[in-house]
């Protein structure tokens, strides 16, 4: 019945009936062609015996221009196509199919339930700390936070985001503590009641990096002057453009040094510090970068620090503890403890000792 369905529209087209031009067809597979010929001959008797025994590669067949019409419905089996697109181990039988799915998803589920890369029992709960990517990338927190975790038997989840997002997370009450470096925004955050407490923790510095041959000649100039000179000479400059602390600082330097006018080689990446720095390296462009990221990448890039460090390149970090009135999930007591911990003499000493490639990175503000 399948055959009838397939060849139904085909009968009138067969060679001896339609009298169409014959031609020699090259091989597909000998057996295929023979089988096909037998099917055709059994049904209609249109091929003679001696033709069946002929070598398959040279049998005479008709050429018809409307090859694809008669059997189009039968071939359009979408589920079949989908099934075949799956790995064959999964699709070779319904039960095996279901079983394979169960194994895959089941093991994923079990893994998700059982696995945790935190060795702590964390009976004291979880404290969420939002911080900037640059702080997180520096590795400082990995150095000092475990002590806090052990001391208070708590797990600290660190959410690394740009300053803008970190503050938004605090505003939404999704995190307990925010550690960022944008003093004005921090003060506004405190003033509008999103936080109950703000402490200065430490500062680091920004650097203006550029190609060693320094096409804009900014070596040892102050920050504002350097940027303006780069703009005037239309040299390549890569900006974060992501509302991060570093980007905000760049905008501030533009503002205080006499305004910003866009030029064609000023590129906004909208990415994190590390990617932006690598882009500047690839393009041999000038870039404003925090010292921590610079030190980590020092050996991978050809750019060198050029501008002189002045006050506009100092970068103070503050810790804010999110107003517990925002959400019952906020751990008020623990976040207070975190603030105390960060400004405690022991932690401040550790911050001072923290270094990358032998160069210290952060300068504590509570260590007199």
């Amino acid at each position: 019945m399948f055959i009838r369905k397939y060849f139904h529209g085909l009968w009138p087209c067969l060679p001896h009936q339609a009298g169409l031009k014959s031609r020699t067809l090259r091989r597909d597979s000998t057996q295929d062609v023979l089988r096909m010929k037998m099917i055709v001959s059994k049904r209609s008797g249109c091929l003679r015996g001696n033709e069946i025994n002929r070598p398959a590669g040279r049998c005479r067949l008709a050429h018809v221009s409307t090859v694809n019409n008669p059997f189009s419905q039968a071939a359009l089996r979408l589920p079949q196509a989908l099934k075949n697109a799956l790995p064959s181990a999964v699709s070779c039988g319904t039960y095996r199919h279901v079983l394979a799915c169960l194994i895959i998803f089941g093991s994923g589920f079990l893994y998700g339930c059982g696995a945790s890369d935190m060795p702590l029992t964390a009976s004291g709960g979880v404290l969420r700390l939002a911080t900037t990517t640059s702080t997180h990338d520096s590795g400082l927190l990995d150095e000092i936070i475990p002590e806090f975790e052990h001391k208070h038997n708590v797990r600290v989840d660190i959410v690394a985001a740009g300053t803008g997002r970190a503050l938004k997370l605090g505003e939404a009450g999704d995190v307990d503590v925010v550690l960022v470096h944008a003093r004005e925004e921090e003060e506004a955050f405190l003033a509008s009641g999103h936080a109950t407490r703000r402490e200065d923790v430490m500062f680091n510095t920004f650097e203006i990096l550029g190609p060693p041959d320094d096409p804009a000649q900014i070596r040892n100039l102050f920050a504002g002057e350097s940027l303006q000179k780069i703009a005037r000479q239309k040299e390549k400059f890569i900006s974060r453009g992501d509302d991060s602390g570093t980007h905000k600082r760049e905008q501030k330097i533009w503002q205080t040094s006499g305004g910003f006018t866009l030029w064609s080689e000023y590129l906004e990446t909208g990415q994190g510090m590390a990617s932006t720095l690598m882009m500047a390296h690839e393009k041999q462009a000038y870039v404003l970068v925090d010292r921590g990221t610079y030190l980590r990448f020092q050996r991978k890039i050809e750019l060198v620090p050029l501008a002189a460090t002045d006050d506009s390149l100092r970068n103070p970090y503050g810790v804010l503890n999110v107003n517990p009135a925002k959400s019952s999930a906020i751990k008020a007591e623990l976040s207070q403890k975190m603030c105390d911990f960060l400004i405690s003499p022991i932690t401040q000493q550790r911050i001072k000792q923290f270094s990358i490639n032998g160069e210290s990175l952060f300068f504590p503000l509570h260590l007199d």
């Binding site: 055709v40 694809n68 059997f71 189009s72 089996r77 790995p87 803008g164 906004e268 690839e282």
Partner: protein, 232 residues
Amino acid sequence: MEMIWEGFAEACRIVFSGDALVLRACWRTLWISSLAVAAATVLGLPLGSWLARTEFRGRSIIVLVVRAGMAMPTVFVGGVAYALFSRRGPFGPLDLLYTPWAIIIGELLLAVPIVAAISQGAIKALDPRVSETAMTLGAGRFRRWTTYISEARIGICLAVLTAFARCLTELGIAMMVGGNIKGRTRTLATATALETSKGEFSRGIAMGVILLLIALSVTVLIAWFGRENKDA
């Protein structure tokens, strides 16, 4: 929840007010992914049908590799493309890094296995009698090939659509080799990531909604190509 509604409102606002930056990002996303998928179809379709229709030693291994290639992580592809186009890489002198062309090449690498694997499945699923019949009717090699393609067109449309969906929402490659440069290589997906990282969640959702609208219109277009021929 509020954020989601704000996102929809923002999406409408962007679309109707014709926010030049976003609309240009839409257009850029669309042509980058279309070009990548078109190139991937040109390469992947012959590969898929070759794998479906010829027998040789090691065929199944190639099929497995191609299928596994569908799960290729975009960041991996991005990393490979980055290494190729970096100033120190073999194609460094072409200066393609951080241009849309680099994204297209990266997405092409991503899309070829998808097109090849799904179209291989679709063509393999055809009744063997399609080939036999085409042959009885005297179709030559090329003619038989076009017959498979036309018979398996729904599966192939699905392959193209899947590849397109992957490229349209592609983030890793666009970030790594495109660089998300404002006005040059910023695509909708990277713009969404950027808005979210800035804390502009509703704007991020708005971009996502626009991306979905584009995906919807492309799906409709492709479904139209793959529609069943009612006359036959």
